[in-house]
Each structure stands twice: as C-alpha cells, then as structure tokens.
Subunit: 337 residues, 2 copies
Amino acid sequence: MGNSRVSLRWVAQQAGVSPATVSRVSRGSATVSPELRERVLRIIEESGYRPNHLGRALAETRHGALGLVFPGLSGPYFSELLQGFEEEVQESGDSMFLLASHSHSETDTRVIDLAGRVDGLAILAGTVSDAALEQVARQVRLVVMCARERGAHTTVTMDNTTFGALARHLLVEHGYRRLAFVGNPDGSPDVTSRWEAFLGAHREAGVVPPAEPVRVGLQQSDGIIAAQQILDGGQRPDAVMCANDETALGLVLNALGRGLRVPDDLAVTGFDDMDMAAMVRPGLTTVRQPIRELATTTARLLADGEPRVTRHITLPTRLVLRESCGCRPAAAGPSDN
Amino acid sequence: MGNSRVSLRWVAQQAGVSPATVSRVSRGSATVSPELRERVLRIIEESGYRPNHLGRALAETRHGALGLVFPGLSGPYFSELLQGFEEEVQESGDSMFLLASHSHSETDTRVIDLAGRVDGLAILAGTVSDAALEQVARQVRLVVMCARERGAHTTVTMDNTTFGALARHLLVEHGYRRLAFVGNPDGSPDVTSRWEAFLGAHREAGVVPPAEPVRVGLQQSDGIIAAQQILDGGQRPDAVMCANDETALGLVLNALGRGLRVPDDLAVTGFDDMDMAAMVRPGLTTVRQPIRELATTTARLLADGEPRVTRHITLPTRLVLRESCGCRPAAAGPSDN
DNA sequence: TTGTAGGCGTTATCAT
DNA sequence: ATGATAACGCCTACAA
C-alpha cells in the first residue's frame, strides 16, 4: 500500500535476507535463487517498495536525466523541439529537465547549477555565455544546438544556406526587385544566418537589399506587427521573406485582412514548413527543416555519444515551393483545398 | 579549475578543517569563525568546488525539483503554462522536470516513476489514470490542473461557465440560430465543460443545438480542418464557437481565404484571449483565461502549500467582446489598426 | 566555534 | 548463491 517509508533495508529484514539480495532482485540481477527471489518479490509487491532514486543515483554516480535549455519562446518550433527531445529521452528511460531562460542574466548560473543534476545538457546556441558553456562542458556532456560556428563543443545545426537559395528563387526566377526581411538577426543565431544568406543572394544577383531587416520576434503576432510596419508605409515591397513560418502566417493574415492578394500584390515566404504552411491558402512557400530530428539527434548524442569526442552534425533542409511566392499551384484539383 | 572530482571531504583536507565546517561554510551557516570561513572559501574558490546535488538531496531527503505533466500538445496555451510554471519554480530555486505524454499507455508508469524524483507534481487533468494519481499522491505533493471535479486532490481550475455566457451572447444578443461547436469534448476536461456550457445555453434559450460538435484537436491547423468540414458542406451556420483561439484563428484564416467576411457571413469566437486575438482583424471575440496564473498558482501550491490539506481553487475568466462575433468595433480611430 | 560519528538509500566488491 | 562491508557525497545531532 503506502510506500512512503519502505526502504531496501526494510524489505530485506522482512524477507529475512541481506540488503544485497534485495538490491539484486530489485534490479533483475540473475545471481539469485528462484526461491529467495520469489520471497523478496512478494514483500516488494505487498509493501509497494520502490527504490529511492537519490540513493541509487548516488551509488551509481549517474542521474538518469538530461536537460534542455532554451530561450523562453513559444510557438510550434519549440513544441516540436521539446517533444522530439522528450521522446528520445524516454526511449532511454531517463527523465528530462527543462530550463527556459527568461532573464538572460540569471540563466548562466542556473544552467551551471542544472549541470550538476544531469548526465548531459542540450543548449540552444545564444542562450548562455561562452564561459558558462565551458563550465558546463567540464561537468557533463554538452551539445549545442543551432550554433553558428563549429567550436570545441559538439553541435547539431540546420543548414541555413537554403534560405539563400529561396532568396535567389525570388530574385532570379520571379524577378522581384524589392524584397523585405522579417526577423531580428540579433535575436538568434539561426536568424543571423538567414539574414546573411539573404544579403548574400542579393549581392550575387546584383540587387540592392534593404538597408535594415524588419526587426521583430518569431511569433505569429510579430508577423502582424511586421505587416503593419511594411504595409502602412510608403512603397511596399514585391516580396517579404520571413525568418519563420509563424511570422509569415501572421503577415499573410494581416495582408488578407486588408484585402491584399497573396502572392499577386505581395509575395510571402517562411521557414520551417510547419503544418499550417501546407494548409493555408495560398500555400506557403518555405524551407523545410527537420526540427524533431534536431531534437532527437541531440538527445541521442547526449545519451549514447562518446563523452570526449566532439562532433559536428548538420541537418539538411530543403526548398518547398508553394503558391505564396508566386509559383503556380502544383497539380491537383483546382477547386477545393 | 576542473571541479569534476572535488568533494566536500577533499576541500576539508585542503583547508585543514573538518567536513562539517566546509558544509557549514558552503551553505552560509553562521556558526563559523571568519578566519576559517575565509580559508575554506579560498579553497572552494580555487578548486571550483560545487556541492553534489545527489549527496545533498539524499541527506536532506528533498529533491529540489518539481514536475509538470501534460499531454504532448503544442500551441501558445502550453507555452504559457510551461513558462509560468518554470518561472515560479525558479523563484524558489528549484528545477523543473517535464513529462509530455505521448503514448497514453506508458504515461502512468512514467508519471509514477517521476514522482520518485520530485517534491511535487502538477498534472493536467485527463493525462493519467485515477489510479496513478492516487499512487502519486501517496508519494509527493500533487496538484491537478483543470480537473472537472473537486476530488480528493488539490485542484486549480478555470471557470469554464463563461463559455456559456458567450453562447448566450450569440444566441440572445445577436439572435443567431444556427451555431456550431469546434472541439473534441472527449479530448480534454476543459473542452468537455465548454461543450456542456454550449449545450446548456441552447437549452436556456430554447434553441436546438447541433447534434454533434465538430471533433478536431486544438491546433490552428485543426481550425482549418474544421473550416473545411463546416464550409464545404451544405448550409453554413450563423456562428461557430471554437474551443480555443488557435482553432478560431485557423478557421478565420480559411474563411477569409474563401472570400467570406467575418462576422458578416460567419461569426467566429474563441477561448483563451491569446495575443493574436486582439491583433487579428476582425478582432476575435473570446474568453480571457489566466493561463499563466494557473501555472504559477499551481507551482506555488506545490512549493509552499501545506502538504496534507487539499484545496480547490477556481480562477476567474471573463468575456472579451470584439468584432468577430458581430459586435460593433469599440471606440478608437476607425482606420488603421 | 569546531570536530566526530551516524545516517540518508543504494550499489558494488569482496569473501564465504 | 549469499552476505558483510565499504563506498557514493553530503548533512546534522551531539560532543568537545
């Protein structure tokens, strides 16, 4: 019944055996006679004994837990990341600590503290200082996600160059001349890379890019804010490239609300290829990135990876051309959708 | 530098004091002479000593961690929940375990296991079996969120009756006669309550409700699916009440895409009052519920609450009338927004 | 004020 | 196959 105070030792006494035997039984160790095993299992069953995690962890010097650290952002991106990570953590029978960084200042110390409670830590690049990363790496396994540089720590990263390919598509194939970029390059390493790819594509194409990005966050509501900034102003661009699908959707929603047509009056693109991108009309042109795989790969590295070898993994992304960029609708019934 | 192998005992030897003294210093206990304190602190500093969490926790029989358990859903609702909980957990210097239930079957055992690693557990109603809840409650503090009944466990709940008030508003003030309900009453206790409130309002008003809800999930993409089901069919309703803002937004997006006008051709309402609700046009009529407060209240109860007294807290919600239900736009400049 | 010793609940290494 | 016994790293009476 109540298992509050039953300890291994107590079970041992009840069964008239040594603590060691109970430990063996409790863990399914083979070296115990069927007779004793039976006796011990009965007591365990009746008493509702469950081995104490702290005691076990202390003896095994292993926490049985991994940690995930990221900025306190919302949206499908993080949901996906979280679920992927958790799924993989469960697979190996571990538990998952979550640390969402709000106040950037306190995060460093909290992360270092967290490092003392886990076997490995996954940290989204840009969330903590390099010094803190160093600290963490000395204590536990560390994987940095979405880092911009292949440093001394193991990293798992998305291929952001496809964003440049998308920019070229708009510039070259569609011949757009005035593009806008929605996203804050200082906000996250990924956005930095995308802004640079955006700039690079312009350079190649010999088109002069906007002087500044439209600096907003990554939520859908930020897309609306961006829309207001872009569409209330004077001359509106031919196309706007958003740093992710969320903001693109917000932007489309607002544009539609104004009676603008997408892509005729304004082309819009995103990044992620989340569910909504395919369901909205016009279909959202975007770049597909395997967020879940990012998470599972990271978790697996943390659980299985050689502790001392640093690896660098880049996950592939790919262009997904739909209608919002100005491409013709793909085959399929013309009506419904 | 490296602090991998420095233990309290080691520090004690280096400083030429007893382990007890180091322990006292390490925890800021007052009963130690300035001289020794200084000496010990120096060694701690130099060696980068950090007390081992497992050792400390085992000795204090306290994990310094709380757990949050919910179904693996995405969307702003859970982001908010998560952040609120985490914020409060940090406040008390604890850490946060997260358990997202994917396969409903395994969840029970995982939750019970998790109960052995925390001082308290917050569980969203409907995620685990009652038997598991019972088990958990015997081991640690437990708060059930959004439960439909005030049972033996402490609960924190939202007032879902306001959904009925909203239904009355549509039925009585606007005189709509054909309403639709979007959401799966079997999916979560909250949706169950809202569907019942929906039915209740119809009964009161003497209007015959739809035989069945439009059973979809709670994501934005589900709103699109619902829209297809509702709008592709024969006679379309006057108004559709969605179980949350996400689906309402998806529905609006699709309706707009078809060239329908909201609310003229179709009124739409949501639940939550998330950021987007106020930013979209037409503004989304909805019910505001304090999700963050739900989370912080729960966490605080877990951290501070009397272990043995079960409380039942209901958080207030309130009607937010905007334009999507057919109400006139509130005061303010008529143009931009 | 400081140190000693026992305990927190397991696991693991030895003997037996 | 089983059982002492010593870790694991820390806290905390109790004693000095």
